[in-house]
C-alpha cells in the first residue's frame, strides 16, 4: 500500500502553502466560526464567504474548484440536518404523516435547513483547503504554538506517523481473512453474525497486541537515539510581515462578511 493514501496534503509552491501554519489554522477557524455566527438566510454574507473561499482557492494554486469538488465526499452529512425542517416553529408549508409522528415543514424550518447546509458546506471546504495546503506535521506544530497541550499534539503526531504502518497491518489481516473465507459454489460459508463479530474481534485483539509490541520497539529505538521526553523540530516557524499582512486581510474580509450578514 502507498504510504500517502491518507495524506491530504498537495504539494505546490503557492502563497498559501508558504503562509505560516499558525495563521492558516487561526484564519480557517475564524472563518468557520464566522459562518456559524451568521444569521439564517443572510444570503449576501454567504455569498461573500463563498467568495473568500474562492479567493483562498486561487491563492492555493490548486484550481478554483478544488475544494468544491472535494466537498462532495462530505456532503451526505448535510442530509442529517433534515430534521431541522420539522422542528422550527413557523408558517406550515406542507404536512405528512410517517410511522407514529406528524411532520410539518415550516417556512422558518426550510430557511434554517438551507442555511445550515450552506454553512456547513462552506466550513467543510475551508477544512479541506487547510489540510491540502499544510503539511500535517506543520499543522500539529501550529497547534502546539497555539497552546494545545504538548502531550496531545505528541500523541497526534505519533498517530499520524504510525497510521500508515498499522493500516498496512490491517490490510494483511483483512487479506488473511479473505483468503481463508472460501466457499464452495452454491454453499454458505462461515457462521452467523456472532461468529463473524468474533472473528473481527480476534483480529482487533491481534492488531492490538502487534501495535502494543511495536510501541515497545519504537520506544527502545527512540531511547537509542537520545529521546528524553521532548520531540524536536528543525522548522523555525517564524512569523514574517507577509504572514501578518495576509492575516489582517483575511480578518478584515471576515469582519466585512459579518457586517453584511447582520446589517
Amino acid at each position: 500500500m502507498h504510504s500517502d493514501a491518507f495524506d491530504r496534503y498537495h504539494h505546490h509552491d503557492s502563497a498559501l502553502h508558504r503562509l505560516d501554519p499558525r495563521i492558516k489554522v487561526v484564519v480557517a477557524i475564524a472563518f468557520i466560526l464566522s459562518n456559524a455566527l451568521l444569521p439564517d438566510g443572510a444570503w449576501m454574507a454567504f455569498g461573500l464567504a463563498w467568495l473568500f473561499l474562492i479567493l483562498a482557492n486561487a491563492l492555493s494554486d490548486l484550481g478554483l474548484g478544488y475544494t468544491f469538488r472535494r466537498s462532495f465526499i462530505a456532503l451526505p452529512f448535510a442530509l442529517v440536518a433534515i430534521t431541522v425542517l420539522f422542528s422550527v416553529p413557523g408558517k406550515p408549508l406542507s404536512q405528512f404523516h410517517f410511522m407514529m409522528w406528524d411532520f410539518t415543514v415550516t417556512d422558518a424550518g426550510l430557511l434554517r435547513f438551507i442555511s445550515i447546509v450552506i454553512r456547513s458546506w462552506l466550513s467543510v471546504q475551508m477544512a479541506i483547503l487547510l489540510v491540502a495546503v499544510t503539511r500535517f506535521p506543520d499543522l500539529i506544530h501550529a497547534f502546539e504554538h497555539l497552546r494545545v497541550p504538548a502531550i496531545l499534539t505528541t500523541i497526534i503526531a505519533f498517530l499520524y506517523r504510525y497510521l500508515f504502518v498499522l493500516t498496512d497491518e490491517v490490510m494483511r489481516l483483512l487479506r488473511a481473512r479473505q483468503s481463508r473465507s472460501a466457499a464452495a459454489a452454491g454453499q454458505r460459508s462461515g457462521g452467523g453474525v456472532l461468529w463473524r463479530a468474533r472473528v473481527a474481534g480476534n483480529m482487533s485483539g491481534q492488531l492490538f497486541l502487534r501495535s502494543y509490541e511495536r510501541s515497545d520497539r519504537i520506544y527502545n529505538a527512540m531511547l537509542a537515539r537520545g529521546y528524553d521526553g521532548q520531540l524536536l523540530t528543525l522548522n523555525p516557524h517564524e512569523l514574517h510581515a507577509r504572514d501578518w499582512a495576509y492575516a489582517l486581510a483575511a480578518f478584515l474580509f471576515i469582519l466585512a462578511t459579518q457586517f453584511v450578514g447582520w446589517f
Binding site: 444569521p39 505519533f158 504510525y162 497491518e169 463473524r196 468474533r198 482487533s204 491481534q206
Partner: protein, 332 residues
Amino acid sequence: MLYSPIQPMHIPDNFLSITVSLICWAITIITLGVAISRTNKSLGERQVPLMGVMAAFIFAAQMINFPVLGGTSGHLLGGVLAAIALGPWAGMLVMTAVIAVQGLLFQDGGLIVMGANILNMGLLTCAVGYGLYRSVIGSNRTVKLAVIGVAAWLSVMAGALSTALQIWLSGNAQLQVIVPAMLFFHAFIGFGEALITVAAVLFIIRTRPDLLGEGTESAQGGRGWILTGVLLTLIVVLLSPFASTNPDGLNRVATDLGFIQSAQTASGPLAGYTVPFLESVSASKIVAGVIGIIVVLAIVFITGRSMQNKRGLNTQSNNIQATRPPIENRKP
C-alpha cells in the same frame, strides 16, 4: 474504501448552535485538563509512544469490519477497549487524538463542534466503559466479559443520547424524534461494538494476560470511576425512555434555560443569545457570541498555562529518571 466517511455520531460544523458547541468545548477542555495532569503524574515518558501507537491502533482497528445484514457492516469504535487497556485517563487522551485527526484530516466531524464530538465519542465512552469494568475488576473471567459487553453497548448508547440531546438543545430537532431515532440506530451499532470488544478483550486475556492484570495501568483507576460509570449508566437508562415518551418536561427545561427560543421570553444568562440591557436583538447576539468565545479562550489559555508549567516540571523529573526505563516487567 478503507475509511468510511459516514459515521452517524460525528457531528459536522454548524449542526450545533454556538452556545451548545462552546459549552461542550468547556466540559471537554476541563476533563482533558484533568486527564493530562493525571497521565503526566502516573505515566512515564515511555507511555507517550505507547499512547500514540494505541491511537493509531484505534484508528486502524475501525477499518476491520464484518458484514451484519444486507450490505451494512459493523466495526469497532474503541472507546471502551482503549479505557480498559490503557486506563481511563490515557484512554480519553487516545480517543481525543483519534477524533481530532478524523475531524482535521478527513473532515469527519467539524472543528467548532469537535468539543462535542470528543465529549460524545471519547470522554463519555471511556467513562462509562471503564466505570463498569472497574466495578468487576476482581471477578472471574465470565462476569468480567459480560460486564465489558454491557459497558460497550451502553457507552455507544450514552454517546448517541448525548449527541441527540445536543442537537435538540441547538433547536435543530424535536426531542421525540431525534432521541428514539439515534438510540434505535445505535442500539445495533452498540451491539457490534459489544461483540467486537468482548472478543478482543478475550483474545488479549488469553494471549497476554499480563497486560490486563493486577498492577497494570488499567487496574489503577480509583473507586470514583465506579460511581461515575454507574451514575452515567443510570442517566442513560432513565433519561432515554423519559426523553422519547415525555418530551414536554425536558422541552420546558430547555426553554427556561434559554437554549430553545419560544414565544415566551426566556430568562437566564445569555438566554437565547440576548444580553438583557441591549435593546437590539442582532447586536446583543453578537455580544453574547463574543462573551462565549472569550470565556472559552480564557479557559483554554489558563489550562494551557498550567499544563505547560506542570509539563516543564515533569520533564525535568523525567530527565532525572530517564536512566531507568520501566521495561523490566515486560516479556519480550
